[in-house]
């Protein structure tokens, strides 16, 4: 039968897979771990007070005890970036987590119940999809006046449709399989089937989209902070630091380069880790 050929093929691929040492995944994991440490203890790790001004050392290149130099007001850049990690990362994390909870639930419910529920969920996703996300965020925040948690809420709403659609399509495959029929036949309730039977089987997709949502929100947050929306300008964050550095690029280029590199490295690590996690989890089902 072809089934043995297929399982042998899967096995061959699995062996292939295990032989490849995921160096990239390890590095990405370490990067994200370091970022998380900064989120938790950034202020404590900072070598100097991030808001201590020193007009004499304004916009200095690295040196004089300032590893990455100083900004316009003479504040230590390294300290500002370390303590700014919290406001730069927590918001995106909340966005991703919220997407996961609401989006995955709605997506799975749409796939499972079908009919009116599915249509409602889909139209909601379509509607939000049709909006030019960042533009809407700018308008809303401009009108409402910004604020950290309002930014989180807006970004959350705008990234929902991706999560809904991906989870819905992954769940659509699962709800047609006989094990879901079997669960219904036994008399298990709909929500229990959704969370206990469907969710574990679409976990690879859920985990991967969580990290992708995080990346999207991280970049979105930085962009809004850069524009002066979202994070209040006085508080340190990667996006605001990047914006401040623009005018001082000749005096201290590190003021712009360092936050940009931080954003890129964090975002790439999360993307690659999500990719690897997806593959790993998807394989887990085929192994004993």
């Amino acid at each position: 039968m072809t089934s043995d050929v297929r399982s042998d093929q899967a096995e061959g691929a699995a062996i292939d897979h295990l032989q490849r040492v995921p160096v990239v995944a390890v590095i990405c994991g370490l990067v994200l771990l370091a970022v998380l440490v900064c989120v938790v203890a950034g202020g404590w790790l900072a070598p100097q007070d991030p808001s201590a001004q020193n007009p004499l050392l304004s916009a200095m290149a690295p040196g004089h005890g300032h590893l990455l130099g100083t900004d316009e007001l003479g504040r230590d850049v390294l300290s500002r970036l370390l303590s700014g990690a919290r406001s730069s990362v927590v918001g995106p994390l909340v966005v991703a987590a919220g997407c996961l909870l609401i989006g995955a639930t709605l997506g799975m419910a749409g796939a499972y119940f079908g009919g009116v529920v599915d249509t409602a969920v889909n139209r909601l996703a379509d509607m939000v999809y049709a909006l030019p996300a960042l533009l809407i965020a700018i308008v809303v925040l401009g009108v409402v006046g910004g604020g950290y948690w309002i930014t989180v809420a807006v970004l959350l709403l705008l990234s929902l449709p991706y999560e809904i659609r991906l989870c819905r399509s992954a769940a659509m495959v699962e709800v047609r399989l006989p094990y879901v029929d079997a669960a219904r036949t036994i008399g298990i309730s709909a929500w229990r089937i959704i969370f206990r039977h469907v969710l574990p089987n679409i976990l690879p997709t859920v985990v991967a989209t969580f990290l992708l949502d995080f990346v999207g929100a991280l970049v979105g947050f930085a962009a809004l902070s850069y524009l002066g929306l979202g994070v209040p300008p006085s508080s340190p964050s990667w996006g605001t630091t990047l914006a401040e550095g623009q005018s001082l690029i000749t005096q201290n280029p590190w003021l712009s380069i360092a936050p940009a590199v931080l954003i890129i490295v964090t975002a790439s690590s999360a993307t690659l880790l999500g990719d690897w996690g997806h593959e790993l989890l998807a394989h887990a089902g085929t192994q004993r």
């Binding site: 072809t2 094990y179 029929d181």
Partner: protein
């Protein structure tokens, strides 16, 4: 030592090639000590070991085995189409060309034009965007500048050869039935007039009547062209109906090679006998179905013993000591059984039991109806978005009753509405019209039932689904799956103990509770599915093709288990199947469905022995004969 000796004997058998090919000189295909392994060279795990056989011109060889036997891999190694990560060694010679590690150019010259492969699944092997005609045009010989009309005539002729009308050329795969697709695929495989056709389970995905037609077609084309054929199948009856010779494979090794008639009448290996016995007869009821205990091992775990020793009732310590070589045991026959000399009479005696006069089926005491279906109708619509809206009538006024303690067989082909009835009874679909009574509850519209009634209905009826590979949640352990059901029952205090009891009931060790479905064989998974279904102690158990996806040896085990449950708990059963021999063993009464209507109903024996409706007769005639038909005797010679 044993492998060398085996090689010597293999060689000996090759020096005495058999039947038709004898006269036409050397074999067309000569396979010698073919090995297929997976993984890196140093730690390679064998999947196929030391397979040697010949196929002569005009000869048909059947390779028979259960899943994991290596029969498909053998065929794929022969045509050089092994999946990535697998590699073959040994020797495969086709008309003088060495094919193992052959260059691409050699392959291109051979594949399609001289050797052709026909695959199992007619639903995926045709390109959905190409018409049947385009498929054929692509594979017809390229030589010469055919004019359009000449090509069209050629395509029509080719379609005619496989019994299709010329108009089919204009149609896309989705417009064709499974049988028609398989015919198109066959026409494509034959387009360049190959000398050898390798057919890998060509009829497994088809209905019984379609299967009979396709097999008949294969046979007649092979004869008229004098083409050689390798037919790979798990079904001995299919191999017997088409092939001159049969090679039985098990866990990567060949256990027996024999002319068809000789194998059917007098198997020379305990496993061949087991396969013959495990196939339930359609002609009469058997009081106890013979199953081969256990399941097929991985090829690498039995590398140094007789592969079948662990499941063989004749096994002795010497069987496990070394890998027995294939030894000649008669004219053109080899067997890998060490003890054949001693046990051959016993094998013959065991086989003669199969044809013993029928034991009467146990007397039936039918109580009040537990389920009654009246004038049930259901039509499926496809959405207008996908082109033309289409209506399919699945049920066209079906009425039937199932009595308490009765086992009813529901027989019919794909699309006859069998599964729709099951799903309606389970509340998974809502019928358009009609009434379903389940022990006094009207369940025709499940959504209208209140919570208590719904729960009551779920307690009464439970189901075992067809495909054990998808009917268990792959993410949950067996124990979790079963405990979930037991928790619903509400009266279970020690669910761990109860889970162990359930597993014991279906013949599985309690330790399986920790395993995930992927670590279980198909038969074991189906047992778990049965355990899940009977955990709620239902009064009616619906079995929707419960053994169709299982290997022959696991089939008998599962059928016997279901019978046991039926007898022990007096559970009513609705047994849905297309296999009449299964229904003969399982059902007290038969209902024959055809295009959503009941066309015949009556006692199992009455319906199967003297069918009234022409459709029922067609179903019965379509069963491949278990005995080798005299017309295809091995000494038959073809031009």
């Amino acid at each position: 030592m044993n492998t060398e000796e085996g090689a010597a004997r293999d060689l000996a058998t090759h020096l005495h090639p058999d039947d038709a090919g004898d006269r036409s000189g050397a074999a067309l295909l000569h396979v010698e000590r073919l090995n297929v392994a997976v993984g890196p060279v140093r730690r390679a795990r064998p999947l196929v070991r030391d397979v040697s056989f010949d196929v002569h011109r005009g000869q048909a060889l059947g390779i028979v085995g259960e899943s994991g036997s290596g029969k498909s891999l053998t065929a794929r190694a022969v045509v050089g189409l092994l999946p990535a990560g697998l590699h073959a060694s040994g020797s495969v010679t086709f008309d003088g060309h060495q094919l193992i590690d052959a260059e691409r150019r050699t392959w291109r010259a051979l594949r399609g034009s001289r050797v052709s492969l026909l695959l199992q699944d007619p639903f995926t092997m045709l390109n959905p965007l190409q018409t049947a005609g385009a498929h054929l045009a692509e594979s017809l010989p390229r030589g010469g500048h055919h004019s359009r009309s000449r090509q069209r005539d050629e395509i029509a002729r080719r379609l005619g050869e496989v019994g299709l009308a010329a108009e089919v050329a204009e149609q896309y795969p989705f417009q064709l039935s499974g049988g028609m697709r398989q015919r198109v695929a066959l026409a494509v495989a034959l387009a360049r007039d190959p000398e050898l056709l390798i057919a890998d389970e060509p009829t497994t995905a088809l209905d019984v009547t379609t299967q009979a037609e396709v097999l008949e077609l294969l046979q007649s084309i092979r004869r008229s062209r004098g083409m050689s054929l390798i037919l790979i199948t798990h079904d001995l009856r299919v191999a017997f109906s088409v092939c001159d010779r049969v090679q039985v494979m098990y866990a990567g090794s060949v256990l027996e090679q024999s002319p068809t008639a000789a194998l059917a009448a007098d198997p020379a290996h305990p496993y061949s006998l087991g396969l013959l016995l495990a196939d339930p007869p359609v002609t009469h009821y058997v009081a106890e179905l013979t199953a081969i205990p256990g399941s097929v091992p991985q090829a690498d775990t039995v590398a140094d013993t007789c592969a079948f020793a662990a499941r063989c009732s004749w096994a002795q310590p010497e069987c496990a000591a070394a890998r027995p070589p294939l030894a000649p045991v008669g004219p053109n026959r080899t067997s890998a059984c060490l003890r054949l000399g001693e046990i051959h009479p016993e094998l013959r005696a065991a086989l003669s039991h199969l044809d013993q006069p029928a034991a009467p089926p146990p007397a039936l005491t039918v109580g009040d109806p537990i389920a009654a279906i009246t004038e049930l109708r259901k039509t499926f619509h496809t959405s207008r978005l996908a082109g033309r809206a289409r209506r399919t009538t699945a049920l066209d006024g079906v009425s039937l009753q199932i009595g308490e303690g009765e086992s009813v067989g529901l027989v019919g082909e794909t699309g006859s509405g069998k599964t729709t009835i099951a799903r309606a009874l389970l509340g998974l679909i809502t019928p358009d019209a009609g009434r379903i009574d389940l022990a006094g509850i009207d369940i025709s519209n499940y959504r209208r039932l209140d919570r208590r009634q719904r729960r009551q209905a779920r307690r009464i009826v439970q189901a075992v689904f067809q495909d054990p590979y998808t009917s268990l949640n792959p993410a949950l352990s067996i124990g979790t799956t079963l405990r979930e059901v037991l928790d619903l029952r509400g009266d279970v205090t020690d669910s761990r103990h109860e889970t162990a009891d359930l597993l014991g009931l279906v013949g599985l060790p309690a330790s399986y509770a920790q395993r995930r479905p992927v670590a279980l064989s198909g038969g074991e998974r189906q047992r778990v599915a049965i355990a899940r279904a009977i955990a709620l102690r239902p009064r009616l158990l619906i079995c929707d093709e419960p053994v169709a996806a299982l290997d022959v040896s696991a089939q008998a085990q599962v059928l016997e288990l279901l019978r046991d449950i039926h007898r022990r708990y007096n559970t009513s059963m609705l047994f849905i199947t297309h296999d009449l021999s299964v229904v003969r063993q399982m059902a007290d009464r038969i209902i024959v469905l055809y295009h959503g209507q009941v066309v015949e109903t009556g006692d199992t024996a009455t319906v199967l022995d003297s069918p009234n409706h022409p459709y029922t007769r067609r179903l019965i005639n379509a069963i491949p004969s278990a005995q080798a038909p005299s017309g295809h005797a091995p000494d038959r010679s073809e031009p």
